[in-house]
Symmetry: C2
Subunit: 440 residues, 2 copies
């Protein structure tokens, strides 16, 4: 007998079908039992005798033959896509038996402490509310990719192994590379720039590695970046492009993952015209509207980010706000200083509901200026040979930007910790298994 997908049972009332899936919940009522069985398309209530249910429990994998029946009016569940039907069991086969669960998986919320959530990651990811995080994440990726393709970007796949620690700043992971020293790239930044003269417009979904020896709720040792880079563009056009990609990707996600977003209590995103303020202008707003004088700081404080977003929502009906022109010194070497005021740079962040989710800049595209900038940061241009080669042979005005995927996911869904937005998060204390438990 062929398998029927659970969602398709809705159209098969009165017929005998075979479904295959995981037991999510078992409810016993004297001599009868109800099982909630899930496959990739949905969940269905299965009615069976206690004998048929045997010792089945949550996470057992089953194949069930039975007839699809309408539920009595008063037992209809309006919150379930198959809420008007149930499956009346003829035969249950166990395809794979689960051991006893270490905690209850049947509640709507999986209320676990983070270490437990991660110690049992291969199990906890199965909980509908946990799994939903990654459906939203997949929508963000797909929405980003669609937006980039719509702008004529070509997808590139760039290396993660590099011969030198390239961007400076953050700590890097060292690799033993055939006896030579090599490093995991901190981002796809340099490679996406190098490919601008080749393809003019590129995008990539790439790994980023940061060996920061700190344990916070906002850092991962291995994360995912959504990156775009555009040739033949100037600053204002870059702002148009980043706002277009961000808006398009968020709208796509609301469309594809609306139900998941609703389950997380996420409000509809406000897509008013996105206000653009330089850092100094934003600090003026903070000073005037929120009475904090941070007008000489080199960045917005976390509270400033929250407040400027409140202001943008109130004044511009926008959950997004673009902040530009951060001090040149505070930005990486490839950032182009504003020719009219070189103390500030042609850089930008995009804030969303109180948090920065994107950053980028117009880049230095002049070879000599770039070499000088590398030197001025105390780095050696010799370590950038292949990167500089791309500029030596002609590089158009160019720029780009980058979203942190886990960060964006975390923030949209109001998760407490970025680890919840990574399938198998890597940090200082854990690579799947906690290091502290390894040396027994």
């Amino acid at each position: 007998m062929q398998r029927t997908l659970i969602i398709d049972c809705n159209k098969l009332v009165g017929e005998v079908v075979k479904i295959e899936g995981f037991v999510q919940v078992r409810r016993d009522h004297g001599k009868i039992a109800f099982l909630d069985v899930a496959d990739r398309t949905g969940v269905i209530q299965v009615f069976c005798s206690g004998e048929q249910a045997g010792n089945l429990r949550s996470q057992d994998v089953v194949s069930i033959e039975g007839s699809v029946a309408k539920r009595p009016e008063k037992l209809v569940n309006p919150n379930l896509e198959t809420g008007e039907i149930e499956l009346q069991t003829e035969k249950i086969e166990t395809l794979s038996k689960s051991v006893e669960l270490p905690f209850d998986m049947s509640n709507k919320e999986l209320d676990l402490q983070l270490p437990t959530l991660l110690d049992f990651r291969s199990l906890t990811l199965r909980h509908p509310k946990v799994k939903a995080i990654f459906s939203v994440q997949a929508s963000l990726m797909a929405g980003f990719r669609k937006a980039a393709l719509d702008l004529n970007c070509i997808e590139i796949f760039v290396p993660t192994i590099a011969a030198s620690s390239t961007e400076g700043g953050a700590e890097v992971f060292k690799i033993d590379y055939y006896g030579h020293k090599a490093f995991l790239t901190q981002s796809p930044q340099l490679y996406k720039q190098m490919l601008v003269p080749v393809f003019e417009r590129v995008f990539t979904i790439a790994h980023a590695y940061r060996a920061e020896p700190s344990v916070t709720t906002r850092h991962l040792s291995e994360s995912t970046q959504l990156d775009c880079e555009f040739g033949f563009v100037e600053f204002e056009q870059l702002l148009d492009l980043l706002e277009q990609v961000a808006t398009s990707m968020l709208k796509f996600t609301e469309e594809k993952s609306g139900k998941n977003l609703a389950d997380f209590g996420v409000e509809k995103i406000a897509f008013g015209k996105i206000p653009r303020l330089s850092l100094r202008q934003a600090q003026e707003v903070i000073f005037k509207e929120f009475s904090r004088d941070n007008r000489k700081e080199k960045d917005l404080t976390p509270q400033d980010e929250i407040d400027i977003c409140k202001w943008a929502l109130k004044e511009h009906k926008s959950d997004l706000v673009t902040i530009t022109k951060f001090p040149t010194k505070a930005k990486p070497f490839y950032t182009k200083p504003d020719p009219e005021d070189p103390e500030y740079s042609l850089s930008y962040d995009l804030l969303f509901r109180g948090v920065e989710v994107l950053s980028g800049s117009q880049r230095i595209n002049d070879y000599q200026q770039l070499v000088d900038s590398i030197k001025s940061r105390g780095m050696d241009p010799k370590n950038f040979e292949m990167y500089l080669q791309a500029f030596k042979y002609g590089m158009p005005p160019e720029g780009g930007f980058s979203f942190g995927l886990e960060r964006l996911t975390m923030h949209i869904l109001n998760l407490a910790n970025i680890r919840e937005a990574s399938l198998y998060p890597r940090d200082m204390e854990r690579v799947d298994v906690r290091f502290s438990t390894l040396k027994k």
Copy 2:
């Protein structure tokens, strides 16, 4: 003045436009000069005076204002999308100047030795014929993704840092991970399996690292895999799925990159019904049709692969052929032995025009059988704790497959070396720059 994309000039005869792009070729004819200028949409012939052309050369980045004119009939170039027009220069601005090129970039073929091709990778990638390789590669990725999404797979992004060398066999790269030992994953294999109970069907485009200390034309230290994994499927259905994905992805690539494929002299792919043979059946064909008796070998030889594909094309009008049931011992620990003949496994390769481009298998989904299989290979189940957790709590029958992206690209385009199919290839001798040149 706004930039006009080169391809759009076709519709603007008689009008004054500004184009921006790279000088590809310069041809001087006494007091006049022709420039071929390229942007992401195409190439246009620019007519100018020698004075206007100044010292412009290949790879200079220019902005040119001029009027679009019809070419005289006899000067029309039918091989160029803008072959009926040219741009008559009013003003040329150099946006970025290239240094002198180390070799001629103006010929149709870039006839360089591999080391030079890679030493100047940021330059050589700009050559139209080199760049075309990666347009085809992008089509393969997009075609794969579309095929996977059409089959309800969800996109996952899996870690590349692992706590133990997982799959055995090939050498692994060691990382210094906050003072602990960690490794770069050899493939996304274990993680995609772990996510089957979560999403049932998953796909990923992932990095794969192999520290094999050998320099061949077919191995990269860092490569890209296109992976799918499906739950609730049995062997025959897996064969249907892999053939469906492969066919769909190749058709997509022919559709999107037809011109590039033609430039490489690639013949139309034959999509007859794909023959399926067990290894032993294939070896019988080789014995009967090609008079080589390899019937006891544990795999097809390279010549066998070529010949069985010739046979498939002749007998079945198919450039693809599926080979199944390789000896269990020759396959990784997670491969399911055939219950009817455990010496052989429920594994498969897909061959395309004489080369294996995909491999995969039905997996062991029983926890105890999997633990036993790990032990039987001399490995320690303790190193697979998070992986085994996924099986302990119920795992449906499942299987999947994986394409090597660079390998497939190389093979479709008949490239001589897999390094040509990687933007910035990593091997034993080179990470962008050759190690041998570093210690000067």
